[in-house]
């Protein structure tokens, strides 16, 4: 048994109104999940300092939460705010794709 990650661990939030509300769904300490988390943290620190709130949900502990955001794949990053909801699945290894997907950076023309 691996030690599952604590659920809903809020990362430091500097302002009350966050421009970005992100949720990362993972299932236990799989390598994919860990990679995704590490990648996400890196991008956020680089591009979204102070503008985001990140929730990490471990579905092994809270399986009932999977249906709410229509989670199929693990890991999945959900951008709740701003709307529309965006989902990025995978270990987030492609920084460009993640940033474009989150609308942080416009797609290269």
């Amino acid at each position: 048994m691996t030690q599952p990650k604590k659920a809903s661990k809020k990362l430091p939030a500097k302002t009350k109104e966050h421009k970005y509300e992100l949720r990362l769904y993972i299932a236990g300490n799989t390598s994919k999940s860990m990679t995704a988390l590490a990648n996400l943290k890196k991008y956020c620190e680089e591009h979204l300092v102070g503008q985001y709130r990140l929730e990490i949900i471990d579905l092994l502990l809270h399986p009932q939460l999977a249906a709410g955001d229509q989670i199929l794949a693990i890991p999945t990053l959900v951008r709740k705010v701003p709307v529309p909801i965006r989902k990025i699945i995978g270990d987030l290894s492609n920084e460009e794709k993640v940033l474009v997907g989150l609308d942080i950076r416009p797609a290269k023309s």
Binding site: T2, Y25, G28, K32, I74, D91
Partner: protein
Amino acid sequence: MATKLKNSKTDPNASLKKSLTGITGLDEITGGGLPTGRPTLICGSAGAGKTLFSTEFIIRGAVEFGEPGVIMTFEENIADLEINVASMGFDLKKLQKDGLVRIDYVRVERTEIEETGEYDLDGLFIRLGYAIDSIGARRVMLDTLENLFAGLTNQAILRAELRRLFNWLKEKGVTAVITGEKGDGGLTRQGLEEYVSDCVIVLEHRVTNQISTRLLRVVKYRGSLHGTNEYPFLIDEEGISVLPVTSLLLNNEVSEERVSSGIPALDKMLGGVGFFQGSSILVSGTAGTGKTSIAALFANVSCQQKRRCLYFAFEESPQQIVRNMKSIGVDLTSHISAGLLQMHASRPTLFGLEMHLVAIHKKIKKFKPSVVILDPITNLITIGSVAEVKSILIRLIDYLQSENITVMFTALTLNNIVNEQTDEGVSSLVDAWILVRDVESNGERNRALYIMKSRGMNHSNQVREFVITDHGLDLLDVYLTSDGVLTGSAREAQLLNEAAGAELRTHAVTRKNREIERKKLVLEAKISSLKEEFEGVQEELNKTYLEEDLRKEILEKNRKQLSQQRSNKTKNDTTEKGK
């Protein structure tokens, strides 16, 4: 990782265990249902009934067999699904509330999803696992997994994950049904059959001659015997019913019981009693010969004997038949309201032949009649070939005999020549065959009835005239003369002729008798006069006798006197001389 998901529940010895589907007929084909604890693939083109099939499996499992089920749908949302099954009479909302069914709608929207790097479908596994565990589900339905292929681009991951999913489902020990859209090359578009190897069922919707037939076929069922044919199935307000038609063993129980045909004279022809219960009877004849009337009378008499009767009409509406039968003094309305008679009218073209058979089966199963009437089977030919109709009827007769139900078919023969074979070729199948035909002569048309065959009883070989009156049907003796068979008014004329002849004859007889009487009197008078004459002659003769006797006597007397006198004289003479 994800160890929680891998709590094995499968028992290696349970490989042949089956889960009843509750779907009419399917359990017979598969010999007990779908393989327990294994995934089954249901594939077919759009509108073939895949979703309905699998939903019914889940719902019936929950309602009838106490096995809770999870529905994971990728296509329809929960509200749509609830509405769809409500039309089949299932209350999905209540089942969810009772914890018997859990529905999870998985929406895969490509526009919302961006893929970067490695991922797996653990999310799906977790959702499914959570749903299964929350209600202790034994059955799972996945409809349609292929939608994942539309939403996710990484095929390699997807395929690997699907393989893992099926293995995981097996380990979970749930009986799963997975639907798959029909593909060009294989059974499914995404080759799902390659992952599901235990049981594959194909549903099809085939249109021949503009008439559609739904067909079901068990393509594969590992470790089990199964019917391999294509079976027609029906979707109606009670869900799916499949018709298994493989039970063609000729070992039905037979009945010695006899049932009246409703026409006393016909019963008399049939060994004096009637048909055997559970036999099949064919009434064939040309148009307008009263086949429906015979059928209606048979229905009538069955109902009077409190036997349930199911009447399938393919030409006329029930109201029409009821009205028409009133004209021959048969009141079917009372039987209908008493619940003894049920009439079903449907145009043959309403659906395919096989569907008709399924529909008939279903109604018979529900109503449990002891008499079934199909009027007429000829119309079925419009929607199928002779061979097809025959195969349908064989199966129907077979089924009815196994249920000990008497069946009467009517069939229209199209020509006036007496066929040794009906158009549907069923004559060899039926137990009794009654033929009604037209006899046309002297400018009128009459009906003649005879029994072509009647297995297992001594039956009349006579052609009888068949008359329809206000009070029902009757059979009369046919007059055979040198001119041939006389029927109708020719028969009446013959009857009158014979009556007149009889009258004349009796008249003649009486006259002769009188003459004899007269002659007798005359002779008797003659005899008496002769007698008198004889007596006269006798008297005359007697008189002469007497006279003669008298004369003789007198003469004798005289002679005696004379001789006496003479002797006296001589004596005196002597005395005188002696003195």
